[in-house]
């Protein structure tokens, strides 16, 4: 059965900037979804900021294996309730791919616990992306390096936690480097950040970029069948149900079986 991928797009510059709408007549989200759907194992749809619940209702997220997130100008317009909903689905087992300027998206900052900041320059310079983790499933079938002739520069230090795995590092023509592909786990969910994707360049029409995203969707999908339920429960284990026989000793704050503080 195909993996359910949802590509979330902010869909702002597509409406206001002719360069962007010319490059991406169906939106960046549309171009990404089209690229993913070229893989028979993926069924990708889109959601946007402007829809009710930003297109990310509880029902839809519950059926989403992997969510991709592209945002830039309107991070502040994303409702906190939807952010929390997304975060809880990641904790339960949904995969999350955060793209480019999504480094400052609420969902990413919320899951990382760090500022997620960086240096940047919009000069259309050359970016060369190096694979540093041999045989990583996200780099499968890609050359050891590939170029994007025109991209925005993002420069280190990138304000992220030490990645579980560093998959890609970028070289920029203007002299900077950047950890362009990195993975983390949050709860039961897998998270991947991928750097390229500035809206004024044709990055999401690049075969290598689409290959990375396709690979990453497969990598991030754990299936939702074995989801963690009640993702932040902190169950009390009564003395009488201890795995090894023990007896109650000393003073207690709680009555047997009482809820804990949160």
């Amino acid at each position: 059965m195909a993996i359910n991928a949802v590509v979330w797009g902010e869909n702002v510059h597509e409406q206001t900037n002719k360069t962007v709408s010319d490059l991406y007549p169906e939106g960046l989200h549309g171009a990404i979804a089209k690229g993913l759907n070229a893989d028979a194992g993926i069924s990708a749809t889109t959601a946007t900021l402007q829809e009710p619940d930003h297109g990310l209702t509880e029902e839809r997220l519950a059926q989403t294996d992997v969510l991709l997130w592209w945002g830039h100008a309107a991070h502040g317009d994303v409702e906190d309730e939807v952010v929390e909903r997304v975060v809880r689905h990641v904790w339960a087992g949904m995969g999350l791919l955060v793209l480019h300027s999504g480094h400052f998206a609420k969902v990413f900052k919320r899951l990382m616990g760090t500022p997620c900041n960086l240096y940047w320059r919009e000069a259309g310079e050359r970016e060369r992306i190096w694979s540093v983790n041999r045989n990583h499933p996200i780099a499968k079938g890609l050359p050891e390096h590939f170029e994007l002739e025109n991209e925005e520069m993002y420069g280190e230090p990138f304000g992220i936690p030490e990645p579980d795995e560093t998959v890609f590092i970028s070289w920029f023509q203007g002299g900077e480097v950047f950890r362009s592909g990195a993975t983390w786990k949050r709860g039961a969910g897998k998270v991947f950040y991928f750097r390229p994707g500035h809206e004024t360049y044709p990055t999401y029409h690049d075969d290598n970029v689409l290959k990375v995203l396709t690979n990453a969707v497969h990598w991030a999908c754990t299936g939702r069948a074995q989801d963690v339920q009640d993702v932040d429960a902190a169950p009390n284990v009564p003395v009488s149900e201890a795995l090894e026989p023990i007896e109650q000793r000393g003073a207690t704050l709680h009555e047997e079986g009482e809820e804990g503080f949160r």
Copy 2:
């Protein structure tokens, strides 16, 4: 010069529960600060929930090398503004030690990006803490294992990100295990979680526990002199100031030197 440590205590059960106030007449925070002050290299003071700004004003945090956090019943009463202030100081370089039930403190959940949940049982059972990371500065001078005859049980799975380092793992009489000492870095700040410390037991009078906390204060202190300024800035690097000579190419969203979106 001595390390400035501030021990933050929720100070609730000390006022409402005779077991707790008998064990800790100066509060858990008071007992911890007293233990730290036995080390000539540390100058520890206390702050509590009930003070204005919970005792954690901008001025005070700016002079704090390491903050210790003990909370339990009143996590929800900690003002979000103070939480953000603490988080930003960690990002800048302040050390943070999170103690026991602080696993559900807003500051810890905010920095981890995970649910931080666990199983628990309040049976006064025996806990044995094993050092698993040889020669780690936080375990310096401690035996390979030590016991707390009466403690609350916390059981895995513990809802944290994969630690940068696992320092201690606990064995519980009732059959559970727990990653009792773990480290992470967040921005420029070092974070350590240490499990023991239930308020109805004399844990913070235990020499080994105080040794761990003393070691951890030294470990977490980076000095504030080399603090990161403006912790979440994302500076634009104009084309004219690129480290390697490049020329502007392609379309741009931003004018030269303009602020980026957040």
Copy 3:
């Protein structure tokens, strides 16, 4: 196409100890292979110390997706040439599962770069294995904890590098804990260590243990199609083939295109 798994068994105590031969008439390797073959996606065969090349010729390893390694009394009898051969196949992309007393196997110590030592006790005590990494593919379908009523104890500190992922932690009746399931990557190959499996107990007839091993075979398999070739090559990139135009500057040790030192 099924995953090619090879279960390597030392096959010593099976020949010399009646308890072991009664429990494992087809050898520990035979029992493990049988358990794996219950999964339609795996085709498992065996190899033993006593065969020429210990059953691990270049040809056989080249067709092996995942190698499982059980050894105990005869680590010293494994030829260094075969060890290097195994190590190079791991670097190229072969998965490796190291079982129980294999912590002291030459192949494991060689890949870890650490002493791999531990405390131990052969008392037939109860071991309880806790899953600490939610939704990890190796823990898929397993309960949060399971028991082995009779096992050898291994105790921390375990002399391994900080794992990439800690998947299982064991509780022992006699008071110890142990990181029982841990993963690392070495070159292009994935490595998993799994603790239980003492030869005088029926561990490899336990459904949960066989489930772990079956899951781990799937997890460790990257397919050999995208293997790294010439795993420790250090190719020179001539100035004339640099990705960005540069000119030769300063003194050199090597002539253009010459081999480097090793």
Copy 4:
């Protein structure tokens, strides 16, 4: 008391290549030791391949807090016995800094368990080293980036295990990137790899490079007072000395208190 640092130099090209001997009349090891000794907290001496035991006797290593290793043309001439001696001291608690072409040194490959290979080019091109880990003690007092106008290029993929911490990433004029500063722990010892240092360039006269090495010596020093003794011992814990009362059950291979297999 000052940290005892020993700078090990292969001392081959200093004798055979005029460019090298002109740049480093006292050897690369001499220049590095001189740079370290500018710090009042470090007492650095040198050792070379040509001395008996390569200058690294058991007695000398026992008094060494941090060993620095520079080798290139003669890795194969380093005796295996000395390699094992160094490795065991690292496991016990000695710090180790591996420099530049030392990526292929026996001691480094032995401790990493990976091929440690890379791409390279000797073109005297510009290298720019970026600090990616804010406030890391090894990067203390350094700018966010610094340049070496002439260096050898090393390019990814670098065949190392996922670092515990990535501290520096290099940008090369010819289009490559490299993880230039990375840390690992092996046993009780801390290991740092630092990339720059080709012998035909004045790298070890550069203030920033010497600052990195000085910082790294402080970082890697744990003092030898709390060394792990008998670094690869695997002690038996007799049933009668179990921390929790247990009784012997089931069959055993070993007599009470017998040595384990290795």
